[in-house]
């Protein structure tokens, strides 16, 4: 199996989906000859033509709205938004149309679209290029929000997202676009949506994260192992709807939980998981649930951004405290 980066796996999944299904259309700014600013769509236009790999005008609301119209006609549009900071004009379309057209029309029209965008900080990018506002999207009923954390999962989950009959926002962790490498077999097999992946088994504490932060979370689990603490690591992968059973099952086993995300703390998705555990897993808890998150500040530009993002140290410290709680 060839080893590849996460962004190459995205490209591979797009090519495979387009090859398998003539209804798949890729659209966005610079996705054509330029292959996308992160090269996620490289080579696709040459292979599938400018009608199916379409350079749109610079208009994000349009991209998401076009996807809704195309999807209602049975195409499978995959829109690209260059950075999550430019996704906000699409919120209108996501909230008011994509996520609810099936329900509004009682199934008469549907919206099998995917909107892809890079997600998260840590790439020393200009302002507005380092957003992690996934909680905002995960709040929307009728939508799916998916974040892969490895090339293998990027390939399998993107295929699943494209084949899914409902709208999916696919957040690609920018920081590990090239840093994450792994073997990916181009077998056309999708991975399941709405299912969390247990990346590591452990009995002492559950660490839950998604996207690029799993890198630090896994490193923290290594460090904890060296101290004799066996951490179970969960990659939530689909945030909407998320796999409550895996979360609750793991916490029932370990009795302790640390949730890690780089997004702002207040109202972040970690709060949702903590609330779930408080409601349905309280009796198995041996310590309060801890959150290691970004601060309630705007993601700083390059010089300070690493202070915003949870470090291995912060995760290890939180896990130690949770384990020592009595």
């Amino acid at each position: 199996m060839p080893e590849m980066t996460l962004v190459e796996a995205v490209n591979l999944a797009l090519a495979r989906a387009m090859e398998d299904d003539p209804d798949v259309v890729v659209l966005g700014e610079d996705v054509g000859i330029n292959g996308g600013v992160f090269r996620a769509t490289v080579g696709l236009q040459t292979r599938f033509g400018p009608e199916r790999v379409l350079d749109t005008p610079l208009a994000e609301l349009l991209i998401s709205g076009l996807c809704v119209g195309m999807a209602a006609q049975g195409l499978k549009p995959v829109g690209e938004i260059q950075f999550m900071g430019f996704l906000y004009p699409c919120i209108d379309q996501l909230v008011n149309h994509a996520s609810r057209i099936r329900n509004r029309t009682q199934g008469r029209l549907t919206c099998p679209m995917v909107l892809r965008t890079p997600h998260g900080a840590g790439i020393r990018a200009p302002e507005h290029h380092s957003e992690s506002t996934e909680a905002m999207l995960a709040h929307i009923p009728g939508l799916r929000v998916v974040i892969p954390s490895s090339p293998e999962r990027a390939y399998g989950l993107l295929l699943a997202a494209i084949r899914d009959p409902d709208p999916v926002v696919f957040l690609e962790p920018t920081r590990i676009y090239r840093a994450a490498k792994g073997e990916v077999e181009d077998n056309g097999e999708a991975l399941p949506l709405d299912v969390a992946f247990v990346l590591r088994q452990g009995r002492d504490v559950t660490l839950i994260s998604w996207g690029a932060m799993l890198k630090e979370t896994m490193a923290a689990a290594d460090a904890l192992a060296a101290e004799g603490v066996a951490a179970e690591v969960i990659d939530l992968a689909t945030l909407k709807p998320y796999d409550e059973a895996t979360v609750l099952g793991s916490v029932a086993k370990t009795g302790r939980c640390v949730i890690v995300h780089e997004a702002t703390r207040t109202g972040g998705f970690g709060a949702e998981i903590a609330a779930l555990i408080a409601e349905r897993g309280l009796t198995s808890l041996l310590a309060p649930v801890a959150r290691v998150t970004g601060y309630d500040a705007i993601i700083p530009m390059a010089r300070l951004e690493q202070h915003m993002m949870p470090s291995v140290d912060r995760i290890v410290t939180a896990a130690r405290q949770v384990c020592q709680f009595s």
Partner: protein, 361 residues
């Protein structure tokens, strides 16, 4: 010359189309279809049905049996004229004030009542299955229309998307983004702006600095035409031309239907707060139904007896629909989870059970 003789690189024109004067006399030779008495009377009947339906819907709202409702009073010719030029396989993307177009395309009156009565089943309507439901966020349907038209083009289908919105919507980026894209790809789409002079309380002069809305098409690279929106013959003729051109691969068109909203914005609005009764009274002289009736009667295409029969037909049609609407069984609360996703994610099944009164979530 003050500009030092710089060359002119482009010049544009916007045309205005009108056939029937407010008194029903004709200003120009009518288009070919107007010699078809059956068609003209069908347009008349549709406008009359819509007016009767509107009146009843307002009465239902006032007596607490319908939610907020948007009447078409004064602008019946726009939606009826446009829809009458479409084929069944074309796709309509309407605004919330385009009842006339939906009814023409086969949506049942009780379905429209269900929608305004707060029941999604009204959007699972009997019109062409690919038509979009009413769009409430103003102008946000324009990008959908471009997407639909792109799908037609990609699949080489001779179909046209017809997108309707108000003058207020033309101020939104959505509409311009969609028109711009449609122009780039010469998509088979017709944009129809119903310029009824008001966006709730905001008059056209505060909506745009342009002389016409039609000229907005020029910036997107295609033809924009202004049409007398109270003249159903003009509306139908303009729609026929635009739809034919779009179907023929000539790209998008824009129609500005200039008309007047004689009623309140919706049943929650009181238009007397922002415009005078005199202004509205004056505009009644131009309204589309009396205009066409004068023409039809003058041409001996319509009689008093027919008028009486039509009034009775409209009454019966509307009353029967209202009865069916009021007799519709309410939905079960847990049905809010129906059609949320293709398959309801397992994690939400507990919430659904709770709503159904089967245990807690």
């Amino acid at each position: 010359m003050a500009d030092g003789g710089l060359p002119v690189v482009a010049r544009f024109e916007v045309r205005h189309r009108n056939y029937l004067a407010p008194d029903g006399s004709i200003n120009r030779p009518l288009p070919a279809f107007a010699s078809d008495a059956d068609l003209l009377t069908a347009l008349y009947r549709a406008m009359m049905l819509l007016r009767n339906f509107d009146r009843k819907a307002v009465a239902l709202q006032r007596t607490g049996r319908l939610g907020t409702y948007a009447v078409s009073l004064g602008q019946e010719a726009v939606s009826v004229g446009i829809a009458s030029a479409m084929r069944a396989e074309d796709v309509l993307l309407p605004s919330y004030r385009d009842n006339g177009a939906l009814i023409w395309r086969g949506v049942k009156l009780e379905e429209i009542l269900l929608f305004w009565g707060g029941d999604e089943r009204g959007n699972h309507f009997s019109g062409p299955v690919e038509d979009f439901p009413f769009c409430v966020p103003v102008g946000s349907q324009a990008p959908h229309a471009a997407g639909v038209a792109y799908a037609f083009k990609l699949r080489k289908q001779p179909r046209v998307a017809v997108c309707m919105f108000g003058d207020g919507a033309t101020s939104k980026g959505d509409v311009y983004e969609a028109m711009n894209f449609a122009g780039v790809h010469k998509l088979p789409v017709v944009f129809v702006a119903t310029n009824n002079q008001w966006a709730i309380s905001v008059p056209l002069r505060l909506q745009t600095g342009c002389e016409t809305l039609a000229q907005k098409a020029i910036a997107a690279g295609f033809i924009g035409e202004q049409v007398d929106g109270s003249d159903v013959v003009a509306m139908r003729a303009a729609a026929e031309d635009a739809i034919a051109a779009a179907r023929d691969g000539q790209g998008p068109r824009f129609i500005e239907a200039v008309t007047y909203r004689l009623g309140d914005h919706t049943t929650s609005d009181d238009a007397l707060r922002y415009r005078s009764a005199e202004e509205v009274q004056a505009r009644w002289k131009e309204e589309p139904i009396a205009r066409l009736r004068s023409y039809l009667v003058g041409q001996k295409m319509w009689s008093k007896a027919q008028e009486e029969r039509l009034a009775a037909e409209c009454h019966d049609h509307v009353e029967a629909a209202v009865e069916r609407y009021l007799a519709t069984e309410p939905r079960r609360p847990e049905s809010m989870f129906e059609h949320l996703y293709a398959d309801l994610p397992r994690v939400y099944a507990a919430q659904r059970r709770k709503l159904a009164g089967e245990g807690d979530a």
